[in-house]
Subunit: 350 residues, 4 copies
């Protein structure tokens, strides 16, 4: 690959947008050639427009770029969308119609029948929906979505178990970081020394998206996986990293050591293809009693690994464990970038 | 009742000991006449010995009392023990043997066959074990324990459901406050912006104690309730108030509105007897999507109410909800005080 | 006083507005008869309109009241204004013109020459400006302001020193709670595990208001006190309670014990008049090395006392100390209520 | 330099010890050949003994090393001491006597007349004390200390001002991170949503060490700089990074832009010598109103830069600003490593 593919970022100034900038600034395959955001930001340089909240500095070159309107005249082939769901729907469609490959972090199109919710490790075959999508919608481009941040973390942990034993039922309680709500997001008065026992709409997303992600591609759509998923979502005073307490009922009996081996040995297509953003170990299994912890583990493999710990028997279902994923990396910007890398590796832009 | 009963507090300087002091300073039935703590504190006044961590000031009179050794020569009839479990076992036995009525917050004797884990709303009939205990051990006094703080919160929420529908299975994930670990307890380096996905030994306590609390008194012991309980315990950056995400499978079918009515209408013996520390509403049902929250709800009814919210269907078991209890009040010191009040009301000191 | 005075609250749904509601719900002299807030809230009951953030519940009666528009047809004699400064200016004037006694927490009129910034303990004689104000502006009512929350805390600590020794120079660094920024206020992404070294406009307020509060009433205005004040303001991850590290240069030499005695013995007009909201001890002096602390001390005397600690020599100026005040009680709602009480006691509504 | 110098770490398992391990694992000049810690840890591998609290993983090779006793038979030439001050004094002396070059982070020897408190940018000439120290004490090795973490941050900010204008008086209030207190360190019950207005002994350290660091080497000791320093130290709920609000009185008049230029243009010997751990910009000047912030700025130049912001006039002294330094990197482990690098560059081990 001699020449980098030109990519644009929609919603580039937000929390997830900043992660896209950070991930793409030095990407071996992609080059950021366009930034777009809401009206308030357009016409200013990125450095002027953004309220940068990451520890690493704003990449020098990108800081100087002008922020444009999110209209399909951007100089790029690929679009990474970090738009807010209140506006993402029609804008992403416009870009797809105009021929752009849109990788979206927004929820708007996730449940569309002809749009995949892609996790390269889990359901790469769902990419076949793209062809159908373009045909049906008469689009030159297409939309690929990634799941909700909590959904992705859960699915990554379920993937080896589904592959090796089959999953029947899942009960999950999440403890989610404030960065998942964007900026300004969660008021400090609500979360300092406190916990909020609900995140609007998040439980339904986890329950529906998980079944679609593990679903079977049949004819013209994804047949949802028959597993039952029940989720409770809470917000805790953590900066980055969603933790989830998960219990599962399996289809086939398995010993505790088989379960651990399933996590430990898990590897999939992105690892095989050595995609640039793919973690070497998609699942990191920790045996210590007090792991995973957001502060110590969310950045494992640059925030792209999913960390599983406390695997043990569950007297109500079969097994239980705690899983942690970085919500704005593996759970958002990194997810979309990995999705795009998979398409590159499969020859979409050859 | 003309004359107050004389009570002593063991472990009076710790986090739970301070709550005992706070609750008993103005108690209508009890008068603090003895304070005991570890060697480090003895010989000093309470004010000198304690590192007071509560918002209300140290009660004037108690601040001036001398801290004594935890030996059974204290001038009192009733003992409230907030001793650490590393020392509580034999000390509490000595006091019981010597004729004191011991109300213990320590785990040491909870699972003894002839010792009740008392929640006055739930299992007042377990007090009959006291007679057996005294006969078997040839003690003049006795030991009554309260459950672990997370256990009590869970059992309070389960009590109306067990009474009205019967409980088959319970799956709970706790998000516990740092005050539950005492002082110095949880290092700030471990919990600032972080979450610890385990509390040593806590899950076993919840699973075993719950079954005993709901167990049937038969012959000479408590037959554990046949319900299955599976718990995951985590520590979050909250000061006071344990939250628990709970799913239950019931024995008898019930509609969502019946479930809510069961919570809402719950009342029991302490309410009937109007015990001084009993909450008027043992269960407070909140209908808002974002409640209960530790900061806003842990102090409901002076920290003695249990607050339930987010009651809804669970696709894996039957129903799920979030419950919050104040861990050092209803879950510790307040629990023991309420236990003692029940015995007073039943005529033990007449 | 047989009949309570009728009071209205402007901006009743905000952080300070909620404190007004809490303080006035059971007030011996005042009765809440009107609530007003921005358009978004009008027409709903207070319970529906407010996002209540206090630990105590919404007072039953007030919860049922309708929220009105902030227009001078409210059924009350006294107005407590917790309006945002973006709108407070003209609205408060309208009310004063229409004959209401307006006690404002907003900054808009504080520096007006004919408007007092009142601290009943410090400058009750500034109330004489009211007459001038009414004459000049041809108003039937009037406006009295309270200082900025950090200003009040600082001035309370300086008051005994100014009275006993005279103040020449003051250097202060504040560490302010998030509740000072209202709701939603400070985003959690900005303050979790972090510190923000600036609060817009706050330093100027402290520097100018302090000089006016200690200023001399002469002819038709307040001559600012000649002391020099230099402030740095920061935001920390504290819920309630502003801490300030203060160094002072005095006019007259004083020993450390004289300084402490000055703090300890301080009492003033509100104490003499036994105003209902006045703290018995306006200054609480703590001798412990690690006090005052927001969590333990902000609620001293129901949040109306100012807590001073760590009094010691300063090698650069003369003395230094740390002072803590509750920012939404003594520093806002409680300040305005105390102001109004002073006028009642002085016979304004006789 | 073909062969790396062999270095040992004392107190390797603590908070600062872990930073030494992290910094030295890949150091171009040094190779970790010995780890020592307290009795509790000896005989175990580093991985077993340490409670690792950093986001980066334990370096593979170092994790396998055995933890030894802190006795002067370690296989190394250079000692980095992160020992607790309760034991550091005599142990460090033993090592120096036995011929090791000891770079200590402990306070024990800082104020010894013949021991330098070295900041390579500020007082490299103080290294001449080493010869005197060895002669006087008849030691084959020697001890070089670094200052207290808050002292170093303050001195880095004062250095350009002292060089360009001279400093007369300094008034500082610190807001320090919990990692400065080690592990377990600050209990979460003390700091969650709270602030502690004192750090034992820290103010005296800042006041005395600063004067020594800027002192003149004359005859056989350091003559303290005549500047007056007054400090107030507080602990805030921040993980890493000490903030300080500083006011200074200068010897020579200077304009605000000259002050800023002095900060901005500052560079010194470590930059000239291109020492591996030296920051390219020892002072980073931020012009934004809300910087420096611990979370965003503490890691500037790998935690070795000192970040200055909010530079403006002070009406009491001359100028005021806020400075931030990483307390366990530039303020502790990184400081000692930079000290050692300076000696290497000056030919001590040639």
């Amino acid at each position: 690959m001699l020449k980098k593919l030109r990519v644009g970022i929609l919603g580039a100034t937000g929390t997830v947008g900043q992660r896209f900038v950070q991930l793409l600034a030095e990407h071996p395959w992609f080059e950021v050639t366009a930034l777009a955001a809401s009206e308030r930001s357009t016409g200013r340089t990125y450095r002027e427009a953004v309220r940068w909240k990451l520890e690493s500095p704003i990449p020098e070159d990108i800081g100087k770029m002008s922020v444009l309107e999110p209209k399909p005249n951007l100089d790029c082939q690929i679009i990474f969308s970090a738009l807010d769901s209140s506006v993402a729907g029609p804008i992403e469609e416009e870009f797809a119609r105009a021929g752009y490959a849109v990788f979206s972090n927004a929820k708007n199109h996730r449940m569309d029948e002809d749009v995949p919710i892609l996790i390269p490790e889990v359901n790469p075959e769902h990419l076949k929906l793209i062809e159908l999508q373009r045909a049906q919608r008469r689009w030159k481009g297409f939309i690929v979505t990634n799941g909700n941040c909590s959904t992705i973390t859960l699915c990554m942990a379920l993937a080896p178990l589904e592959r090796d034993f089959g999953i029947e039922r899942v009960l999950a309680t999440t403890m989610q970081a404030v960065s998942g709500a964007g900026y300004p997001g969660v008021p400090s008065l609500d979360i300092l020394g406190n916990l909020i026992p609900n995140i609007d709409g998040e439980e339904e997303k986890i329950e529906r998206e998980t079944k679609k992600i593990f679903g079977a591609l049949c004819d013209k759509k994804i047949e949802p996986h028959p597993m039952t998923v029940s989720a409770t979502t809470t917000r805790v005073a953590v900066l980055d990293g969603h933790s989830e307490s998960v219990s599962v009922k399996l289809r086939r009996a398995a010993s505790l050591s088989e379960i651990k081996e399933s996590f430990r040995g898990y590897s999939s297509l992105p690892q095989e293809l050595k995609l640039p953003t793919a973690p070497v170990h998609p699942i990191v299994l920790r045996e210590e009693a007090d792991r995973p912890q957001p502060r110590l583990d969310a950045h494992a493999e640059k925030g792209m690994a999913t960390v599983v710990g406390r695997v043990r028997n569950c007297s109500v279902l079969d097994y239980k464990f705690v899983v942690l994923g970085h919500n704005t990396l593996r759970g958002a910007a990194g997810a979309a970038v990995l999705d795009a890398e998979l398409l590159v590796a499969q020859g979409f832009w050859k």
